[in-house]
C-alpha cells in the first residue's frame, strides 16, 4: 500500500505547532509499519503555499489524497479523534 501523504501546516515555533508535530510523531511511531509521509510546511516561511492551500488556522493537518480534502485544525491532542478522522483502523491503534 502506498504511503499516505499528510501535510502539516505550522507557524514557526509556536506552542501549538510544536505540540502538533510531537503528537503526530507519536502517532506515526505507534502505528509502526503503517506508513504515511508527513510534509511539514511552515507558513511563516512559505506563505505562498499557505495561500495556495487557503490555510487560515495553524496548525492544520491536511489530507489531500482523497476525493474530498479532510483537515484537522489544532494541536492534535486527542489521538482517538485524529485517527477516526483520518479513517485509520481502530484495531491498529490497539496494537500499540
Amino acid at each position: 500500500m502506498a504511503a499516505r501523504l499528510l501535510r502539516l501546516y505550522i507557524a514557526g515555533n509556536s506552542a501549538s505547532s510544536r505540540r502538533a508535530q510531537q503528537n503526530l510523531e507519536r502517532l506515526r511511531a505507534s502505528l509502526g509499519t503503517h506508513g504515511w509521509d508527513v510534509d511539514v510546511i511552515d507558513v511563516l516561511e512559505r506563505p505562498d503555499l499557505a495561500e495556495r492551500a487557503r490555510i487560515i488556522a495553524t496548525p492544520t493537518l491536511s489530507h489531500d489524497d482523497t476525493a474530498r480534502t479532510r483537515r484537522i485544525v489544532g494541536d492534535l491532542g486527542d489521538t482517538a479523534r485524529v485517527l477516526e478522522f483520518l479513517g485509520i483502523d481502530q484495531r491498529i491503534r490497539h496494537e500499540r
Binding site: 506563505p47 487557503r54 487560515i56 492544520t60 485544525v73 492534535l76 491532542g77
Partner: protein
C-alpha cells in the same frame, strides 16, 4: 514605529476613505496605521464601504490594498462591486490590489485542540508585501466566528494579534462585522472591544415604508469626531455617498449683492431685492400664489441674464409651463435659449438623500445663478422628520456655498395662518421668509403678503394686500386692521 508611540504623537495622519462627508465626520479620514471596525446588519453596505476605502486609495492616492474575503470568493466580490465602477480584476492584474481568499473551502474540517490564526496573518502579510499595500480590508470577521464556532476566545485573542501586527507594519486596517439589530449591541461577538481603535456603524432602518441609511461614528480612539447619524445612499458608479451635516461650518460668505425676486413691489419690500447667496422661503396655504411667485422668480432671473434651475415636485413640466404662460412667462422659450432648466420629479420616486444628490448633481451640471424648489412640503411627506431636517440643512448650506439665490415654497396646512412642520424647520435655516395668507376682513376674504424676515437687511413690516390676475401678482395697500396672521 510602534502603536504606543503613535498614540503619543497626538496628530494622526489621515487616510481618506472616498466617502467625503464621512471623512469630514472623522476630521479628515481614518487615522493611518489604526484599525476600524465597521458594523452593520446584513445589507447595510459594509462591503461597499470597505471596498470603496480600497478603491479610493488605489485610484486617488496610489495606495495599494489587500482585500481579505471571509464570506464570498474574490470572483463574487469582483462581480458585485463592478456596478459601483470598481474594476477589482484590473487592479489585481496591475498589481495594485491583492486578494486573500479566506472564504470557507469545501473541506471536511475538524478542530482538535488549540490553534492560532498565523496562517491567515502570514497570508495577509504576504499579500500586502506583494503589492506594497497600505490599506487592508477584512470582510467580514463575523464569518470567522461562524467557522470556528466553538472557539470565540481563541478568535478574539488571534484577531487582536492580527490587528496589532498589521498596524505595526503601517497598514490602515478596516474590518467589517455583523450586527443583529440596528440599535442593539454594537457587533455580534463584541468584536469592537478587542480589535478596534475606531468603531463605525452603518444602519439601514425601515421607517414609514422607506429605507433610511445612515452612518455613525461611535468611537475614535485619541481623536475627535462628529456625533450623530449622517444619512447616506448607495449609488451605482459611485458607491457610498454620505450627506454632510453638522460637519458643515457656517463659513459661507455673505453677499451684499441684491437680485430681483421677479416682482418689483416685493423687491422694494425686501429693501431692494433678495441677496444673491440667500435662501428665501415662500409660505402660504394652497391657492395663495406661491407658484406664481416662483414663476416670477424664474422669469425675473432669466430677464436679468441669469441661469435658472427649477425643481417641481407637485406638478408636471406640462402643468408648470402652462401655469407660467398663463402669467406671461415663456418657460419653453427660456429653456430653448439655455437660460432655464425645469426638472419635474415625483417626490416618492426616490428617498430624500437621493433627491438632494439629484439637486446637487443638476446644480453642478447646469451651474445656475438661481434655483427654485416648489414645494418643500411635497418632499416633506416622504421622509421622517429627522430626515427632512437633515435634508433642509444640507440643501440650504449647499445653495449658499455655491452663492446661488434660492427660493423654496412651503404649503401651510390651514388656510388661514398656522404653521406647517416644514416652516418650523426651515424658518431658522432660511434667510428670508415671505408669508402669503388669506385674511378675512368683515365678510370678504383677501390675500395678504408680508416679509416676515430678511436677514441682514431692513424690510417692510406691513401686510400688503395683493391680487392675482392674468398678468401676475399686484400688490396693493397695506391692511389697516389686520387680524393675526399666525393664528391657528
Amino acid at each position: 514605529m510602534s502603536v504606543e508611540e503613535a498614540d503619543i504623537t497626538g496628530v494622526l495622519e489621515r487616510v481618506k476613505t472616498g466617502v467625503d462627508a464621512f471623512d469630514e465626520l472623522v476630521m479628515g479620514g481614518l487615522p493611518r496605521a489604526r484599525s476600524t471596525v465597521v458594523g452593520g446588519t446584513p445589507g447595510s453596505g459594509k462591503t461597499v464601504f470597505a471596498t470603496q476605502f480600497l478603491a479610493h486609495g488605489i485610484t486617488h492616492f496610489g495606495e495599494n490594498g489587500v482585500l481579505v474575503t471571509f464570506e464570498e470568493p474574490p470572483a463574487d466580490i469582483q462581480a458585485n462591486m463592478s456596478g459601483f465602477g470598481w474594476d477589482l480584476a484590473k487592479w489585481k492584474k496591475e498589481g495594485r490590489l491583492a486578494f486573500v481568499d479566506a472564504s470557507p473551502p469545501p473541506n471536511d474540517e475538524l478542530v482538535i485542540g488549540d490553534f492560532d490564526l498565523a496562517g491567515l496573518l502570514s497570508r495577509i502579510q504576504h499579500a500586502a508585501k506583494s503589492v506594497s499595500a497600505q490599506r487592508v480590508v477584512l470582510d467580514s470577521l463575523t464569518q470567522l466566528f461562524d467557522h470556528f464556532i466553538g472557539d470565540p476566545k481563541t478568535l478574539r485573542r488571534e484577531l487582536f494579534h492580527i490587528s496589532t501586527a498589521l498596524k505595526k507594519s503601517g497598514l490602515t486596517v478596516l474590518m467589517t462585522a455583523e450586527r443583529n439589530s440596528e440599535y442593539g449591541e454594537i457587533t455580534r461577538h463584541r468584536l469592537e472591544e478587542f480589535v478596534a481603535d475606531n468603531v463605525v456603524i452603518l444602519r439601514n432602518v425601515l421607517y414609514r415604508e422607506k429605507r433610511r441609511r445612515t452612518i455613525e461614528v461611535l468611537k475614535m480612539r485619541g481623536s475627535h469626531h462628529v456625533e450623530g447619524e449622517a444619512p447616506f445612499t448607495l449609488l451605482g458608479g459611485r458607491g457610498v455617498v454620505a450627506i454632510p451635516l453638522s460637519s458643515l461650518r457656517l463659513e459661507q460668505h455673505s453677499s451684499t449683492v441684491r437680485v430681483t425676486s421677479g416682482n418689483p413691489d416685493i423687491d422694494e419690500m425686501c429693501g431692494g431685492g433678495l441677496f444673491r447667496d440667500s435662501v428665501t422661503l415662500v409660505s402660504g396655504a394652497t391657492g395663495t400664489g406661491k407658484t406664481l411667485l416662483v414663476t416670477n422668480f424664474v422669469a425675473g432671473g432669466v430677464a436679468a441674464g441669469e441661469r435658472v434651475l427649477m425643481f417641481g415636485y407637485e406638478e408636471s413640466r406640462g402643468q408648470l409651463f402652462r401655469n407660467a404662460s398663463g402669467w406671461g412667462a415663456d418657460f419653453a422659450g427660456m429653456e430653448a435659449d439655455g437660460k432655464l432648466k425645469v426638472v419635474s420629479l415625483y417626490p416618492e420616486a426616490q428617498g430624500l438623500p437621493d433627491h438632494l444628490l439629484t439637486i446637487q448633481g443638476m446644480v453642478d451640471e447646469f451651474k445656475p445663478d438661481r434655483i427654485a424648489l416648489d414645494s418643500l412640503s411635497a418632499l416633506e411627506r416622504i421622509a421622517p422628520e429627522t430626515g427632512f431636517r437633515e435634508f433642509l440643512i444640507s440643501l440650504t448650506s449647499f445653495i449658499k456655498k455655491r452663492e446661488i439665490a434660492g427660493l423654496c415654497t412651503a404649503t401651510s396646512k390651514s388656510l388661514i395662518g398656522g404653521e406647517s412642520a416644514s416652516e418650523q424647520h426651515i424658518s431658522t435655516m432660511t434667510d428670508s421668509i415671505i408669508l402669503l395668507r388669506y385674511i378675512q376682513e368683515q365678510e370678504t376674504m383677501h390675500r395678504g403678503l408680508m416679509v416676515l424676515k430678511m436677514r441682514g437687511s431692513e424690510h417692510a413690516k406691513e401686510i400688503r394686500r395683493f391680487s392675482i390676475d392674468g398678468s401676475g401678482m399686484h400688490l396693493g395697500a397695506p391692511f389697516k386692521e389686520a387680524p393675526n396672521v399666525f393664528r391657528e
